[in-house]
Amino acid sequence: MKVYADNAATTKISKIALDAMMPCFLETYGNPSSLHSVGQDAFHAVRDARNTIAKCINADPNDVYFSSGGSESDNWAIKGAAYLMAKKGKKHIISSKFEHHAVLHTLNVLEKEGFEITLLDVYENGLVRVEDVKNAIKEDTALVTIMFANNEIGTVQPIREIGAVCREKGVLFHTDAVQAVGHVPVDVVADNIDMMSFSGHKFHGPKGVGGLYCKKGIRLPNLIEGGAQERNRRAGTENVPAIVGMAAALKDACDHMEENTKKLVKMREQLIEGILKIERSRINGDREHRLPGNVSACFEGVEGESLLLYLDIMGISASSGSACTSGSLDPSHVLLSIGLPHEIAHGSLRLSLCEDNTPEEMEYIIEQLPPIINRLRDMSPLWEKIQKEGK
């Protein structure tokens, strides 16, 4: 059996998105900036896509800008807001310890440039506390940037409440919603969001395309110069097929969100129940405030990369936050941020589901996991120690 359970990494493009894209390659292939009718057809396709996406997140279409993806949008929003507010003498930025590297590395760069960065704790359950945001805001706070949902442990943050605090204090609020858009209800107005990053390939759209919602009146400096596209804010000929595909995928995801969520939560809980039957296993992150398709687990005494490669041999695609998969000697900063010791964080496994998965596939994963874990534990000196010490 083949089971793709790495949908937080990327998703298969949906038939609806693919069908919407094809004419953009062969018929509507004009440059949206061209005045002739071939170009105008492409212009209209991009306009329609913008309208569709705006509707899905309850935004004004004029506040939706297309980009190359989540990382670009994060860079644009955070650097842009930092430079914008620095002109007013505000050089303090608040974020959390377990943001995506697109946010954390951008903040590192800004710190070197003289900005002050505060990274909030996310506690054992992987949730930012609204009180902490409130207490961290100072006179010179330029920006608060907190992710909507965590990419590894799937915890969904109290975005609406954080946004309300920022509004009250007059501080800009950005959220990296790459894992949330298309998966949980997102409403930029009700959620008090000023800026929001999203990415097409996380909800069955194509790769290499994403967007930034930026509320009217926030004049972010440009990240990419060179043309009048995106209302003079982001240069480069629009990736028309990708934009159209992303819009079709998002509309489909939002139209079916309720039924998909029901199906996903059921499979997620089925998987969690099966995993917790394994000795010395645990689920990471809050069990309630969690993406419908995210299962993040740790198994003591085994190393994540070995686990995921043995799973791959059995046809199961998953991911891990172990050091060996991160290309460094430290396990994922997300798992460390929720207080897991290194040796437990090394044994992590993330299974991220989509609505194409089935309960039978979950059953298959639950069947395959114990023998693989036993095999690894049987040859693990660490497991031997754990057994001896019995702690």
Binding site: E303, S306, L309, I313, S322, H342, D378, S380, P381
Partner: protein, 138 residues
Amino acid sequence: MEYSEKVMEHFVNPHNVGKLEDADGIGEVGNAKCGDIMKMYLKIENDIITDVKFNTYGCASAIATSSIATDMIKGQPLSEALKLTNKAVVEALDGLPAVKIHCSVLAEQAIKAAVKDYYDKNGIEYNKADFEFEDHHH
């Protein structure tokens, strides 16, 4: 990052996995915090490694290097086993990704640690400098 076919072969079906209850020398290197521990068990007769087993906690390359390194020293005199370098282990595996080279260093050190244990237990003199190695991670 990509593993060679040889690495995958030794990872999927590792040779010499297990423990030797009557081992003459046992060497353990690495630590849980860094995500890899290698433990080697040697059976030694007349300065020849007659049997070797390993237990490893770690990634695919840690398991693969343990497997191939134990193959390479089995049946060898101690003097030859001590000459095994991490470079030779990497070559035998048709290469390792750059971030995984430390696994091969662990394998070399685990063998040395096991031989040292044998020397210590049997009061055999040796040049201490030959067995000094820094923790590969720090």
